[in-house]
């Protein structure tokens, strides 16, 4: 999954128009970043990268770019 593909997937998870998210957005300022969006992110990472992440890892992320880094680098490999 490329960076752009990830951002578009996150747009859908957060009910935003495709192309909205660029990376620097702070999660705390995204109204739609809630428990359902968190599940969507976990499912996205599990499906595309085969990585199992914990909530403990996700809560350390501050921005959308942090989520991308987590999804591609620090997940628990299958």
């Amino acid at each position: 999954m490329t960076r752009d593909e990830f951002l578009i997937e996150m747009d859908a998870i957060l009910d935003l128009p495709a192309g909205t998210l660029k990376g620097p957005e702070k999660l705390a300022e995204l109204e739609q970043w809630n428990s359902m969006a968190l599940l969507g992110f976990l499912a996205l990472v599990d499906t595309n990268n085969g990585l199992r992440l914990s909530q403990r890892q996700v809560v350390l992320c501050s921005t959308v770019a942090d989520l991308l880094s987590l999804a591609t680098v620090e997940g628990v490999p299958e």
Partner: protein
């Protein structure tokens, strides 16, 4: 050889309905469409203030006796799976024995499990019957989780519904098990991720435990209320369910393609769909039945089994994989060699959705 076979399944849902529209009106920031898309749940049934697990279980059992060839007098063992018993003591199954008029010569016990409970109940019933301790086991599941939910915690109010099921397992003479093999799993390190912290012996209810606090997601709960860490539950599910399925298939020496229908604990549509795609299970082999009742904890699998039979998705001899997973953490999986439910045959269409009437 003595084997247990499922000969009847019925269920009961409380009369009061909490619809997704009702929830959207309470929580305007969540639309009906969004809740439905994520959970797949349109209605949850909520027990009346004076309606307890035993009340619902009795109604489910009476439906079963009314619709089957068996009567209370046939039952020689009663199992009740619940995490919301009528009392700490006495055993709620004992109360149910009395109310149903089951002979006093029967055995009866409660066991405290949630989403995995039906699998464990099937295993206990199979063992009781194959060992000769019982011939007609009434397996009941009943939960009033709604009584644990804070009204301002949308994360759990959108998902959980109350309900009860009754399954009759009878002794048949067969060369191979009709129910089984079984695989179980337990990981208590996940206990804190689905818990009612106060109210038991570890932490009594106090004025302090009743203080409600808002979390980072805007959900409100006290220590007297159910807390669920959805993200951790999701991760746990993704880890254990595939392994449990592999283990059962290996034990039974069958291939995934040999399974005719997969019935998982109906946690929510989002998780179910993710599991289905990840495990590459065709949609036509995957039962989803939660829109009309929500997550009824240990009743989700028997409710889904009942609907699979009503929808004519189970031919005689069909191989069904059932998998329960959740609170504890606890999980279990089993294969059922389906032998039909007397009175249903193979008719298509849903003619009985359980409803609210006993």
């Amino acid at each position: 050889m003595r084997q247990a076979a499922i000969s009847a399944i019925e269920y009961y849902l409380p009369e009061r309905v909490l619809s997704t529209a009702d929830l959207a009106a309470e929580f305007p920031e969540w639309s009906v469409e969004k809740i439905d898309a994520k959970t797949g749940i349109q209605n949850r049934h909520i027990a009346a203030p004076d309606e307890c697990a035993s009340d619902m279980a009795v109604k489910a059992a009476r439906k079963l006796f009314d619709s089957s060839a068996h009567q209370p007098g046939d039952i020689d063992y009663l199992l009740l799976c619940t995490q919301s018993p009528d009392y700490f003591l006495p055993t709620t199954a004992c109360l149910i024995q009395d109310r149903l008029g089951i002979p006093t010569s029967c055995g009866a016990l409660d066991f405290n499990l949630g989403c995995s409970g039906y699998i464990y109940g099937l295993g206990l019933a199979q063992a009781l019957i194959s060992s000769g301790q019982a011939s007609h086991v009434l397996l009941l599941t009943a939960e009033t989780y709604s009584k644990f939910l804070n009204p301002r915690d949308r994360s759990v109010r959108t998902i959980f519904g109350d309900g009860a099921s009754a399954t009759l397992l009878t002794c048949v003479d067969a060369p191979a098990p009709r129910v089984g093999p079984f695989v179980y799993g337990t990981d208590g390190s996940g206990a804190r991720n689905l818990i009612v912290p106060a109210g038991g012996m570890r932490e009594r209810r106090t004025a302090e435990s009743a203080i409600a606090v808002e979390d980072d997601s805007g959900n409100v709960r006290s220590r007297n209320d159910l807390f669920m860490n959805g993200a951790e539950i999701f991760s746990f599910t993704m880890a254990v369910v595939p392994q449990a399925i592999d283990a059962v298939l290996k034990k039974a020496r069958v291939q995934p393609a040999d399974v005719d229908l997969f019935i998982f604990h109906q946690a929510n549509k989002y998780m179910l769909e993710h599991l289905r795609t990840r495990l590459k299970i065709p949609a036509e082999k995957f039962q989803v039945t939660l829109g009309h009742c929500g997550n009824t904890v240990s009743s989700t699998i028997p409710i889904a089994l009942k609907h699979a039979a009503l929808e004519a998705r189970l031919r005689d001899g069909a191989l069904v994989m059932v998998v329960g997973f959740g609170v504890g953490y606890s999980w279990g999986a089993a294969l059922i060699s389906w032998s039909g439910l007397p009175g249903l045959g193979g008719r298509a269409g849903v003619s009985d959705v359980g409803g609210a009437a006993a």
